[in-house]
Symmetry: D2
Subunit: 307 residues, 4 copies
Amino acid sequence: SLPAGLNPRGSIAAPFTPFKDNGDVDFSLIPTHIEYLKRLSVPSLFVNGTTGEGLSLTTQERKKITEAWLDNKAHFEHMIFHIGAGNLRDSQELAAHSESVKVDAIACISPSYFKPQRVEDLVEYMRQVAEAAPNTPFYLYDINFMTQVYLSNPEFLELAQSKIPTLVGIKHSSPELNSLMRCHVMDNEKYQILLGSDDTMLPALSMGITNSVPSCFMAPLHNKIREDFTKGDMKAAQHTQLQCMEIAAIRAKYASGAGLFVASRAMMKMLGCDLGPPRLPLVPMEPSKYQSLEAELRQCGFLDILS
Amino acid sequence: SLPAGLNPRGSIAAPFTPFKDNGDVDFSLIPTHIEYLKRLSVPSLFVNGTTGEGLSLTTQERKKITEAWLDNKAHFEHMIFHIGAGNLRDSQELAAHSESVKVDAIACISPSYFKPQRVEDLVEYMRQVAEAAPNTPFYLYDINFMTQVYLSNPEFLELAQSKIPTLVGIKHSSPELNSLMRCHVMDNEKYQILLGSDDTMLPALSMGITNSVPSCFMAPLHNKIREDFTKGDMKAAQHTQLQCMEIAAIRAKYASGAGLFVASRAMMKMLGCDLGPPRLPLVPMEPSKYQSLEAELRQCGFLDILS
Amino acid sequence: SLPAGLNPRGSIAAPFTPFKDNGDVDFSLIPTHIEYLKRLSVPSLFVNGTTGEGLSLTTQERKKITEAWLDNKAHFEHMIFHIGAGNLRDSQELAAHSESVKVDAIACISPSYFKPQRVEDLVEYMRQVAEAAPNTPFYLYDINFMTQVYLSNPEFLELAQSKIPTLVGIKHSSPELNSLMRCHVMDNEKYQILLGSDDTMLPALSMGITNSVPSCFMAPLHNKIREDFTKGDMKAAQHTQLQCMEIAAIRAKYASGAGLFVASRAMMKMLGCDLGPPRLPLVPMEPSKYQSLEAELRQCGFLDILS
Amino acid sequence: SLPAGLNPRGSIAAPFTPFKDNGDVDFSLIPTHIEYLKRLSVPSLFVNGTTGEGLSLTTQERKKITEAWLDNKAHFEHMIFHIGAGNLRDSQELAAHSESVKVDAIACISPSYFKPQRVEDLVEYMRQVAEAAPNTPFYLYDINFMTQVYLSNPEFLELAQSKIPTLVGIKHSSPELNSLMRCHVMDNEKYQILLGSDDTMLPALSMGITNSVPSCFMAPLHNKIREDFTKGDMKAAQHTQLQCMEIAAIRAKYASGAGLFVASRAMMKMLGCDLGPPRLPLVPMEPSKYQSLEAELRQCGFLDILS
C-alpha cells in the first residue's frame, strides 16, 4: 500500500524545463507551462526527469526548479520529483532537499556513465539515495534506452523490498511490457508501476496498469483511452491508441535517443507553448526539420489536440 | 482480402526441425512432433522459420522438410512455409518449389549478412522472391532481433502494395507493438499481421490483433487468452498472459539471441517431446543449465501445460 | 609451419564478383577484373569473401566462380577461397568442392544468423567444415563487424590446434590489434594471421605482421608501406599509411556495414573497372552520393592510384 | 604550438581517487598513491578522469581533489585535470576553478546522458566550457566506449580550431587508430594527441605518436616500448607491447565497460597499493574473481612490474 496521500490517478505528465537563449533556466515561463498543462488535462507531474533535462541541470538549479513547481502545487494532485543525478552524493543531496521541502514523492535514475553491473549494486545505490529522504515515497526511474542500463526490474523489486523501506514503485519508461506487467502483479500489486511510454497505454491497460507518465501533450489521449477502455468501448480506445502510435512514429522518424526530447519540446511549441531551446549539448531542431515534422503531425491531427 | 482458402484462426505455431546426433534431419520424428502439436491444440503451422532452424538447412533439405510436413496437412488447417534463405537466388528457388507443391502460403525473411540499407531495397528483394511463386500468398517475415535489420514495416507495406501482388501480410516477430498495430490497421485491415512474440498476446488483442505465431508450447496459453478475452473475462486473460510472461522471462534468464531457440527445444523435451539436438553452430543446453531451467519452469506451472 | 607451397607474400587482395544488371554473375568481366588486379600489383587473391559477396551467392554459383578464378591461376601466386556459407552443410559441400579442384587454401566464416554462443561451438563447427577438405590448408575467417560474432580468436586457436589438423591461420578482418598480435605470436608464430583491414598496415607491421588482405585498390599502398617500412623509411611509410586512412575515412563517411562494400565496388568503377552492380539486397550507390564520394577521393589522390 | 610550459613527455598516467569504505574520498591515501606513481616512473598525471571516477564525484569533491594533487605538483612534470561533468554548468564551474588554482591544462568529456547529435553541437558545448578558463590549455577528452558518443575527432578539430582559442589537443581514449593518426597529422601536427589506450603504444609509435595516458601500472611498459622503439630495437618493443596486450586481454576477460576500471583498481592492490573500494554504483571485484584475475596476471609477469 502506498503512503497516505499519494494515489496518483491517470496521467502524471513530465513537464519541460524552460530555458532562455543563453542557456539559463527561464523561471518566468513556468506559469505559461502550467496554463498548457491544465489545458492538456494533466492532473499530476513528474518533474526534472528526462523531458525536464534534469541531468543537464546543476543541483542548485534543480532545487530551485523543485521549489518553483512546488509553489504551484495547488494546480496539481501530485508531484513526483526526479532527484537522480550522475553520481550518488548529488542524488543524496537532492533527495534530502526534496524531503526538506515536503514533496509527495521522489524518483531516482541509475547512473549511466559508470553503470551498475548487477541488480544488487543498483539496489545498494538506490538504498543509499532513498535513505537520504527517509520519510518520502521512493520510485526507481528506469529508462534503459537512455541509460543503457539493462537490469531486471522484477529482480530489483524482489531484492529492494527488504532494503528500501520507502520504495513504492517504478517509473517504468523502459518499453518492455513483460517487465512492466511482472512488476505490476508482484506481491498483490504492492508496487505502483507507472507506464513511461507514450504509445502503449491501451496494451498496458489490457494488463491492468492504469497510471502513465506520458509526454504532456499525450496526456489528453491517454485520458481518453482510459475512459473508453473503462466504458468497454474498445473500438474507441483503439482509435485513440492508434493516434498515439502515429504521433510517436512520426516523431521517431525525425529523432532518436536524446533527440526525442528535442522533438517533444518542438511539439509543445507547435501547440503554442514555446518554452525556449533545450540546453546544450541539445540544440533546437533545425527549421526545415521542424516544418516538416509539423506538416506530418498536422496530418494526423496532432495540432488539434488542444481543441 | 486474403486469397480464398487462407484464413488462419488462432495460433499458427512454429515447429522444430528434428535432428539426429550426427546433425542430419531426422524425418522419423515428425510424427512424434505432430502428436505433440495436436496435444498442444495447434491448428496451423509456420514451417522452417527460426524455431525450425530454416537458415541452418540447405535448400534441398528445406524442400524435403516442406514435403514431409505437407504429407501431414490433414492434421492442420493451414501451413505457411518460410522460404527465405541467406541469398536471393536460393530464396527464389524455395519459393518456386513451394508453389510447385501447392503450399497455402510462403513467408520470406530479409537477408542479414548483407543487410538492405533502405526499405525500397527490401521491397525490391521481396518482389523478386515473391515473383518466383506468383500464385502463392506471400508474407514478409520480420524478426529484427535476429537479423538486426531495423526497417519500418508500415513503410514496407506502403511501398510493397503496388509491387508485390501476392502480398498478404507480415509475420511480425519484431516486438514493437507500435509497428504491429500500424500495420494491422492499414487500408482497412487489408493485411494479416501475425503476432510473432510469445508474451504479448493480450496486449495485441487489446488492439484488435488475433492471430499469433507462438512457440508451439505457448499455443494453448494463447488460445486460452483469446477465449477469455472474447468472453470479456479480462482477469482470466491477464492471469494466463502473466504466465506467458513468466515463462518467457525464465527462458530469457537462461538464453538470449539464438540461444532462445535452443532453450525452446529443451522445453519441448521437458514436456516429453525430444526432437534431438539443434544443428551446429547451436548445441544443446548444458545439463546443469537444463536442470536449473526445468526447475524454474516447474515452479511456474510450465510442465503442466499439457495436462 | 605452413603446408608446402602456401606462402603468400604481401597483399592478398579480395576481388569482386561481377554481376549483370539482372543480378546474374557476369563471368565475362573476370578478365577485365584480372587486368586491373595486375595493374594494382596484387600477387594473391582471397575469393568469394565479403567483397566478393560470397554470402549472396548460391553454392552452385560459388563453385563456378571458384573454377573461373582457378582457370586464371597463372596470374597469381596464391588463391585462397572462402567456402563459408550460412549453414554447415553448404560450407562442407563447398569445402569438398574446393579440395576436389585443388585450391591452395580455404577459409570459413562463422554463421551469423544463428551465432555460435561459445568458442568451443565455433571450433566444432569449423572442425566439421575443415574435415570435408582434409588435405587443404584452412583459415578461420573472422569479420566481427559483419557477423556480430565476437568470440576470442586467441582462444579459438588454442582450442582448435588439436582438433583441426589443417588449420593454418586466420583471415583477421576484425579490427582489434590486440587479438591480431596475440594470434600472430602464438606458438612461435605457428599461424599465419592475415590483416584484413585497409587502414592499419603500418601499425600491424610494427608488430611483425606482414600479410594483409586489403580492398584490391589498397594493395599498391600496402605494398609501398611494406617496402618503406622494410627500408626503415618510417616517414614515407607513415605518409602512405595516412593516405590509406584518409581513403578509408572518406569511404566511411558515405557508407557503413554492408554499404562499405558497395562503396568499394563504386571505387573500382572510378578507377576504370566497372564490374556491374552489387547483388540484391545491395544496390548501387545513388548517383549523387557516387559523385560526391568521387570528388572527395579525387582530392586525396585516390584516382591517381593506378598511375 | 602548445602554450609555453606544457610539453608532456612520455606517459601521463591516470591516477585513482582513493575512497574509504563508507564511500568518502580518502585524501590520506594520496601520498601512498604518489609513492607508487613514482615507483612506476610516471612523469605526468591526468587527474579526475575515468580511472579517477571523476563522474562519480561532486563538483566540491573534484575541486578538493584537484587542490590535493596540486599540492604535490613538485613530484610531477605536468598535471592535466579533467573538468568535464555530466552537464555544461558544472563543467564550466570546474574549468573556472581549475584556472583559478593555476593548473597546467584541462580536459573535458562529452556529456553522455544527453548526447550531442552533431559535431558542431559538441564544439559549441566545448567552446562554452573552455571559455570559462580562457587562459588554460584545453583538451577534448574522447572515450567513446564509455560515452557512446561516436562523433568524428578530425571533424571536431577542424570545426573547433577557429572557435576554441585554448584548444591544444585530444586525450584520445577511443581506440580507433585511424582517428588518432588523422588528428595527429592535422595542420603540421598542430595538436597534441594523447593515446588513451593501454595496449596500442607501439602501433601508435609507428605512426609518430609518442604521448600516452595509460593505466598507471602500464606506464613502465609504455616507457620501455618508447625507449626500445627509439633505439630501433623493434623485437624488444614488440615483446613489451605484447605484454601490454596480454595484460589488457586478461583484464578484459574479467571485466568490460565500467568494470575495467574496477579491475584496474584491483590490479593496483595486487601491486601493493590499496586505494580502497570504488564508489557506488561500482563495487569491488568479488574475492573469487580477484584471486583468479591475480593468478592469471601473475603468469604473464604483471606482478613483477615494479621490480
